[in-house]
Symmetry: C2
């Protein structure tokens, strides 16, 4: 039995980010959209751990999204753990760990990130697997290519195997000067939220550092109801859990945390500008998705989920159109999407509930 | 009986201009939209000839638009002549003339123009009425305020009354140098397609210069069916009519044509830029109509017929959003709307049929 067949993809499909508003919404978050040929982010996440090479995936998602998740699973035999409410990543992963045999290796990953170099990812998994077998909680650290201030960083310590180091510490999102220093130092990587861990090892650490969370997750799974591919944890028990990320609850505290640095064309598609940079452009430098007519326009990022978007004589714009909203801002300023969403929140615009 | 109660507003509500695409469509043209407070262009056109001061209006429109026209009549008792197909303005006016007593004074006007100074308009009508009684075909000439190349011009000749001249000639849309010369000369005005004519006088002229058209219109009205407020001319007869404008068919040929120059804040709202110029602006110089959120954006003309349009950090754009289309172009370049529509035609985009 090849090693990897013991590896169970655990895919976290929660979240309702607004960085790609007006596309991503409370009711339909980023992983359900296609940004690159080959299906939605979720579909492509599943495709990264092919059947035969990996065990059947476990997807932890909001109960309200169950059918949408199933529709994006492209026929893969998946099991869904349906969270009655979001409690951040640590409790979500705990549910998955409790649903698996103790010696299963959980490959935990978000469902809304891009990985361009699949070989590099698989090689990193192969590097990490023997460490995870030895109860290391392994995180995959993305080799940084710029002084990014939007991510947390991981500082690598002593080498523990070829291509792996003990984690010296996790650090919060740095300012620009610190980020440049991290980049120059060469032993930092980005924290991408992708982990390989033996289920039992994770539960041990959780019991040690966040016992209330483990108790809540265990009670939720003890009271779980299974309906076909759906596992419904006990709502009351799960909602009693503290809410925390795996980083805060476990990784930053545990001693047995390893990092496997990897350069795999990773991106969390954190903004329209990021998407523009990663997308194929036409000869005028435009990226068009959907029904777009462009005349004498250059370097625009245009996405339509329905309406025809016609541009004439404009340059360097981000234009995103859905059935009920259009957002326009200068390319390079797409972080201002947040300001737009904040202003809509402030005015209690009904669109935010859609 | 005051003179004006003999004046019958004859409103031409045909046309399917694309200069205000994507708002104006084949199925819903400009006059059915509100651009200035006070109702749609059609509603405001009707309001310019108030009940009591003017006779009940006659509206010539496409049969397919009958209900929409009625809905925009704001309860005014109107009669609609329903054209089975468009044959340009001369046959449309002929239908109206044939529906009226010979001595009715027809105040012919488009339904999609703006007149800001109603007093000036009414004074010009008072000037024109005695001339129309004497069988002058009176056209109201707009005093030009710029060397516009988008309109035809009227050259005034000898004075025939206070505030009125015989028309020396109609001239086609000039080039920029010619337009400037016209402006400097001071005896040219813009041809706005607004006329005051005795019905019988118009029919006489039509019979003289375009007898086939008169015959077709007469046959169409002889075979007309009246249903409540609707008059349905015989389709076969009307569709046999030559198609021509009143300018070409009659005005440019007849001897008894007078011009009453008037400065009344007239505009045909021929472009998004024109609309921007005429609209009230906020302190950042923006014009917003509909559900618009604007952050750090200036001098934009934004109109939404439904979707939320959110702008951040952009200047000098025209943005028009409907349920199925969004157009974005630089302000000052809104004549490029035509290029957009042409490109959509070329690609046979289905939206043009909506």
């Amino acid at each position: 039995m090849p090693l990897s067949s013991r590896i169970v993809p655990v895919i976290l499909s929660g979240g309702a980010g607004t960085r790609l508003w007006p596309l991503s919404r409370e009711s339909k978050s980023k992983q359900f959209f296609e940004f690159f040929p080959g299906g939605s982010m979720l579909t492509q996440t599943l495709a990264r751990t092919p059947a035969g090479e990996f065990a059947d995936p476990l997807i932890v998602c909001n109960a309200a999204c169950a059918e949408m998740v199933m529709a994006h699973s492209a026929g893969r035999p998946v099991t869904l753990i349906l969270e009655p409410a979001g409690r951040n990543t640590a409790p979500a992963i705990a549910l998955a760990a409790l649903a698996l045999p103790e010696d299963a290796l959980m490959l935990v990953s978000p469902s809304d990130h891009r990985i361009a170099d699949l070989d590099a990812f698989h090689k990193a998994i192969a590097t990490a697997a023997p460490l995870a077998e030895q109860d290391w909680l392994v995180t995959f650290g993305i080799t940084p290519d710029r002084p990014e201030t939007g991510y947390g960083y991981i500082r690598g310590g002593e080498s523990i195997a070829d291509g792996a180091r003990r984690v010296e510490r996790f650090v919060e999102k740095p300012d620009a000067i610190t980020a440049q220093a991290y980049l120059d130092e060469g032993i930092y990587s980005w924290n991408a939220g992708i982990f390989l861990m033996r289920a039992g090892a994770f539960l041990d650490a959780l019991g040690h550092y966040a016992p209330a969370m483990l108790a809540a997750a265990r009670a939720a799974m003890d009271g779980a109801v299974r309906e076909g591919a759906y596992i419904r944890p006990s709502a009351d028990a799960f909602m009693a859990s503290p809410s925390d990320s795996i980083d805060y609850a476990v990784m930053e505290k545990a001693e047995n945390v390893a990092v496997v640095p990897v350069d795999m064309g990773w991106s969390d598609i954190g903004s329209w500008d990021a998407l523009y940079e990663l997308s194929e452009k036409d000869t005028q430098g435009n990226v068009h998705l959907g029904d777009v007519l462009s005349l004498d326009s250059a370097r625009c990022m245009v996405r339509s989920e329905g309406p025809l978007v016609a541009l004439s004589g404009v340059d360097d714009l981000v234009v995103v159109a859905t059935g009920d909203a259009v957002m326009i801002l200068p390319r390079g300023e797409s972080q201002d999407t947040k300001n737009v969403v904040d202003a809509l929140k402030e005015s209690q615009h009904p669109i935010l509930k859609r």
